[in-house]
Symmetry: C2
Subunit: 336 residues, 2 copies
């Protein structure tokens, strides 16, 4: 059944997002780059491979513990390039501002965006600003697109995943989603919790140096670890398992999830990657991960099975297991 209007869920990174892409966008935009459905397009320019990606940021609130919409817009796009094996080179930054937006807040955001780019070693090469009348947008939206140079020889893509692969995650999951939730809701919890928003390009470079056989990486943003892996499992055609006890999860995030009745594996991350590599390489990749500040809490959390339909199964600590589907509904609108 096709919906006749856009629902919040179409932007969730879950089932309806997928449907929108495959049923509404792809049929009219079909081409070899887009059809891969990875976070970045990959193409040759003058004999070398480059990647190219775009994301709009509509996060609410624009300032949150651990970051703001400016740093997030830099980290998010850098991460999409990094997980394609790209060294980020240039970003664009396009602002849509609501009339009446405070100039001081704009300056803070631009400064934060500039610092995040400089810290990650990328240039903001080009930009744009549009202003819409009061009420036509909520405060500020930012789009960043980015270009990266691919230096890793193998294709990092869902199609490269093989049976027997280990699945690693680079640290505690759900921090970004929980921090945004906590900054919106009137929770009585202490909120030492911060977004994990961070640029993953340095971590990725050290992981690719550690193993020349990494098969695929993804940053686990909208849809969370569970949503990303369920999507990858479905597309790969392999059954994948996760061990609940091995998934790094902070007590504070667990607490917020229990109070709100949501699952941490579906909460967005903005500085965590999921990685697939041959099981025999997993120890050296994990070691490289743990020796990087942004991967020190990394873990092997699952594996790709030899057989079975394309689906994701979560095994819990008590011997039970259940299938994890692409999330439906929208847990946290404007999460990024």
């Amino acid at each position: 059944m096709k919906h006749d209007r856009i629902l919040l869920e179409h932007g969730s990174g879950g089932l309806l997002s997928n449907e929108l892409v495959t049923e509404t966008f792809l049929p009219h935009l079909k081409n070899p780059c887009l059809d891969r459905l990875e976070d970045s397009a990959v193409f040759n320019l003058n004999g070398k491979r480059y990647c190219f990606t775009t994301d709009s940021y509509v996060v609410n609130p624009i300032f949150f513990p651990g970051g703001d919409i400016g740093s997030l817009a830099v980290h998010g796009t850098i991460n999409d390039l990094a997980v394609a094996g790209g060294r980020p080179l240039f970003l664009s930054a396009a602002f849509i501002l609501e009339e009446g937006f405070p100039m001081n807040d704009l300056e803070r955001i631009v400064k934060s965006l500039g610092r995040a780019a400089a810290d990650a070693g990328v240039f903001i090469a080009t930009g744009d600003t549009k202003v819409v009348p009061r009420g036509a947008a909520d405060g500020m939206f930012i789009n960043t697109a980015g270009i990266g140079e691919i230096r890793y020889p193998a294709p990092l893509a869902v199609g490269s995943i093989r049976p027997g692969d280990a699945i690693l995650v680079s640290g505690f999951i759900g921090d970004h989603g929980a921090a945004i939730l906590a900054s919106r809701e009137e929770l009585t919890l202490s909120t030492a919790l911060k977004s994990d928003s961070a640029p993953l390009n340095g971590l990725v470079e050290s992981l690719l140096e550690a193993s020349p056989r990494v098969h695929a990486m993804r940053d686990a943003t909208r849809g969370g670890l569970g949503g990303i892996l369920a999507e990858i499992a479905a597309r790969s055609g392999f059954e994948m398992t996760m061990e609940e006890k091995d998934i790094p999860l902070r007590d504070e995030v667990r607490g917020i999830c229990e109070i709100m009745g949501i699952e941490a594996i579906f909460l967005a991350n903005e500085g965590k990657l999921v990685l697939f590599c041959p099981e025999e390489d997993a120890p050296q990749v994990l070691k490289a991960m743990k020796s990087h500040p942004l991967g020190k809490d990394g873990a092997v959390i699952g594996r790709v099975l030899e057989h079975g339909p394309g689906r994701l199964v979560l095994n819990n600590a008590f011997g039970g297991s259940r299938e994890i589907d692409l999330p439906t509904g929208e847990l946290v609108p404007r999460i990024c």
Copy 2:
């Protein structure tokens, strides 16, 4: 005096837009690409020159005579690449949708965007969709970023403009702005008027073939012909003159301007370029322009003087003249 809140005028392409860029954005994002302040960044990748640009589209209404926000988002970004001497290769497309947006309208827009890209020979290589709750955005915004390959050896930039250059425009001005205005206001005029939204990459290629000495090009979007030329004059440090009688202007646009009390030279175009070349090359460039469907109404409209401060002077048919400043105020919010 610095404003403490964003005004509509900050998005006009005029004086306050310039101020926002130079006072709020550049200080925090400073780098050699951005500091050129051209519509596209230009850089080397693997020994070849490429250009990179971004624009968000917030036009209202999203369907208008002569196009829609989808085709506009493709044409606008292609044109920014083309006037940098770039052959457009890849575009990104990022949608921000308001909850409740009609799916049929989205399909029409995506189809139009896809067709515009295919017609211009570019790939939509990567994309993104965000959905915000009702009231947090007005319908739909689109961002496109683009990458082009520069094949013209000389730098096409304000810094290349020389005294004595002829100034050409590729056809009737103000059509886009007037068409959007007419589609909003309750005008009793007949509205055969259509936006001039079109991809200029083909025209640009034939112009660059006609003269190896074209110095600079710009597409005359926000701020119109007058705004773009006033900005270029100020930045170049040269006095420039325009002859009012030589500026191609449709009677319908003149009529709308008279009714609304606005100047056609400040109305946005989405398929018109301004070009600077040595006066002796102007005849062959104009001939090439007129032999292309998108330049058939082109004309030489002015020149760059030998001396004088960086300013733009408009000479009228009766021997009078006046200085044209960067426009202030915002004629038509959400024009593109």
